[in-house]
């Protein structure tokens, strides 16, 4: 039995890292622009489809993953530049609905381009198969998901903590009024921020493709969970998302041992409790 628990723990880590990547992107957007990105799921799905398209052309998986980041990032940049920027003075609700509408249009566009049945991709042979650990089989791809997600977050960490641009992003998120006063190019920063956040969602979609496949609606459940992670981790804390993502992935996996049908319900109960008892989440400040 304990080996089963370990198996679920490892499984939970992998899935949790994927949640973390999604939530990291969401956190950047919420932090910089103060708007919950309801198009995040559609961007996840877009990334997955782009990854599929590129890999299907015969290009290496790595290139496909870059594409999975780049295309949604570009879309995100455009959404900010031509959409949200114009709505900056408008009511909050309108900004949210703009993203909702875009999400719908984006998802349907995916269907128009790639058809209505989903697509799937076999992982490259290097990442296929499993490690036989004796007490459990560990699919190699799950290990890859964990490593790739962690790398992704680490790269972004480096960008944000160790570069000048990154410090501006941090300022924009943690102390936006001050950043404006200091004359930092907020407009450009916001475009970059949305692009980064959207790119993360797309990349998560690409990484998840060999595991979960892709369909136009595959991003929606991911997005819902990403919001739970965001709340649990705390607004204003980028790294809270990472810890919260891991935690939720593990909780979800472990709960399938006890009550599988309740595992998703449990996530939202946790979310509600956090919002009521400690709205700033585990690491947030505001």
């Amino acid at each position: 039995m304990s080996s089963l628990v370990v198996a679920q723990l490892i499984n939970g880590c992998a899935i949790g890292m994927l949640y973390a990547v999604m939530a990291f992107g969401l956190s950047i957007i919420k932090g910089l622009l103060n708007v919950p990105n309801f198009a995040h799921g559609a961007l996840f799905a877009t990334g997955a489809y782009v990854c599929y398209a590129i890999a299907n052309m015969g290009l290496p998986f790595g290139i496909a993953l870059i594409g999975a980041f780049a295309v949604p990032a570009l879309i995100g940049a455009m959404l900010q530049r031509f959409g949200l920027e114009k709505l900056a003075k408008a009511d909050y609700l309108l900004q949210v609905l703009f993203l909702f509408g875009i999400a719908l249009a984006l998802e349907q566009s995916l269907v128009v381009i790639w058809g209505t049945s989903g697509v799937s991709l076999t992982a490259p042979s290097l990442l296929s198969g499993s490690f036989d650990l004796g007490f459990m089989r560990l699919p190699r791809y799950l290990v890859f998901v964990t490593v790739a997600s962690a790398t992704c977050i680490a790269v972004l960490w480096f960008l944000i903590e160790r570069t000048k641009l990154g410090s501006q992003v941090r300022a924009g998120i943690e102390k936006s009024e001050m950043a404006r006063c200091l004359g930092i190019n907020i407009k450009g920063l916001l475009i970059l921020g949305f692009a980064l956040g959207a790119g993360m969602a797309g990349l998560a979609g690409g990484i998840a493709l060999p595991l979960l496949g892709a369909s136009s609606s595959s991003g929606n459940d991911m997005m819902s969970i990403a919001f739970v992670v965001l709340v649990l981790g705390g607004l204003g804390s980028l790294y809270g998302s990472v810890v919260a993502g891991l935690l939720l992935g593990i909780v979800q996996s472990l709960s399938t041992l006890v009550a599988p049908t309740m595992s998703t319900l449990l996530l939202y109960v946790v979310m509600t409790l956090v919002l009521l008892v400690r709205p700033q989440g585990l690491f947030g400040e505001r």
């Binding site: 799937s120 991709l121 992982a123 499993s130 496949g213 041992l257």
Partner: protein, 404 residues
């Protein structure tokens, strides 16, 4: 804000609403007296949007074969999209029956949609020839006007297990992954009922909620139970995700069976490595050796340049049966035709078929296919070969239908 201002503003709004609604009214079609209106109500959008067009084509084929008429009346074939959702299906069939005078319909891919529609069929007294794998159609929710074209899930499970037993005389332990709704529950119920009789034991199992994307945690549990056979009692996108992830575990000697998971076309979404060796249950395949099927396949290939699969066969065969029944009854009245169908033995695309008088279940064979490895495939469409055919009907004592 004076009284008068307020009044006018709202008058304008009201007029706009009315004129807007009048434009909507213009699209509903009329049909001549004496025509027979039939419909294909199926999925034309959403995840299984290829099903609807296929079923429609089958229906168009049989209507064309008959010169567009039955008993001297012109046949009007309508189509609507149920989007795979019960609410939409109910809405559409209500519109079709009340606004378009449709009296016979087929096409549901999802059991939930078909079951919701069956209530309308019963109340409005129109004949429904349903598809789908839930045993409730001919069980607890049977009624005078709903007929089931697909095989019974009992037959599906028994055929699958019989074949696995044939191929693997020593396999014993089964793990089941079941979709947590009516359709899945049916399959599980019958798997459990049949296992012991064939020398199997269901050692472990899990239910997964619909539209689950992560199955790796269930498979961890599965492997802990050391099964010889994994049965995927699920369908559609869930089945594809499960098959994909099961494959990532790389278990070499595992027998994977899916009694009612997908039709051959759907398997194209998986790569050959993911599906090699998979044992799949099917409601239809083009190679059925019977004159009715052979001529159907020839016509389909001639008209649509494609070998037919289950949806097209369903669209064709359901209406073919209904038209023959109308001729036998010499009437297009649904109540009369329904009575005629009960207990009737006739030839369909499956060969000899009978419709159970009480439950309205079609009694016909169920086909088992084995997916080929990449090296065995002659071309991209050569996905699986038919290896077995079973036809054990549901025992009477397991049936819940309470019709007279």
């Amino acid at each position: 804000m004076s009284n008068f201002q307020f009044n006018r503003r709202d008058m304008l709004k009201a007029l706009a609403a009315t004129s807007g609604s009048m434009m909507g009214g213009a699209t509903w079609a009329q049909s001549a007296q004496g025509d027979l209106n039939i419909a294909v109500l199926s999925q034309f959008s959403g995840n299984y949007a290829t099903l609807g067009p296929s079923i429609l084509r089958g229906a168009q084929l049989i209507v064309e074969e008959r010169g567009g008429k039955v008993l001297g009346r012109k046949i009007n074939l309508l189509q609507r999209d149920d989007e795979g959702k019960p609410a939409v299906g109910v809405r559409r069939i209500t519109e079709l029956v009340e606004n378009e005078g449709v009296r016979y319909f087929t096409g549901n891919a999802s059991s939930a949609v078909g079951l919701a529609e069956s209530e309308i069929a019963a109340r409005s007294k129109v004949v429904q020839f349903a598809g789908g794998g839930s045993d409730e159609f001919t069980g607890a929710r049977c009624n005078d006007f709903t007929f089931q074209w697909s095989a019974h899930p009992y037959t599906a499970c028994s055929s699958t297990l019989e074949y696995i037993r044939k191929l693997h005389p020593n396999a014993k332990r089964i793990y089941t992954l079941t979709a947590d709704y009516a359709f899945g529950h049916s399959l599980l119920k019958y798997t459990q009922a049949l296992a012991a009789g064939l020398g199997f034991e269901v050692v472990a199992g899990d239910r997964h909620p619909a539209n689950e994307r992560q199955f790796t945690q269930y498979f961890n549990k599965a492997f802990a139970a050391k099964p010889d056979v994994v049965l995927l009692l699920t369908a559609g996108a869930d089945f594809l995700a499960a098959a994909r992830q099961l494959h990532s575990f790389g278990a070499k000697n595992l027998v994977v069976g899916a009694p009612w998971a997908a039709e051959i076309d759907d398997l194209k979404e998986l790569t050959p490595e993911m599906r090699a060796g998979l044992i799949l249950g099917l409601n239809y395949h083009a190679g059925i050796d019977h004159p009715v099927n052979k001529s159907f396949v020839v016509s389909a290939v001639k008209k649509f340049k494609t070998v037919p699969t289950y949806p097209m066969a369903m669209g064709y065969d359901t209406f073919r049966t209904l038209f023959l029944a109308m001729e036998k009854a010499n009437s297009v009245d649904p109540t009369v035709v329904a009575k005629t169908l009960e207990g009737w033995r006739f030839d369909s695309v499956h060969g000899g078929t009978q419709i159970d008088a009480k439950t309205h279940q079609s009694i016909r064979p169920y086909y088992i296919a084995r997916c080929k490895a990449a090296s065995e495939m002659k071309n991209a469409d050569d996905i699986a070969e038919i290896v077995y055919q079973g036809n054990k009907p549901q025992p009477v004592e397991l049936n819940d239908c309470k019709r007279a």
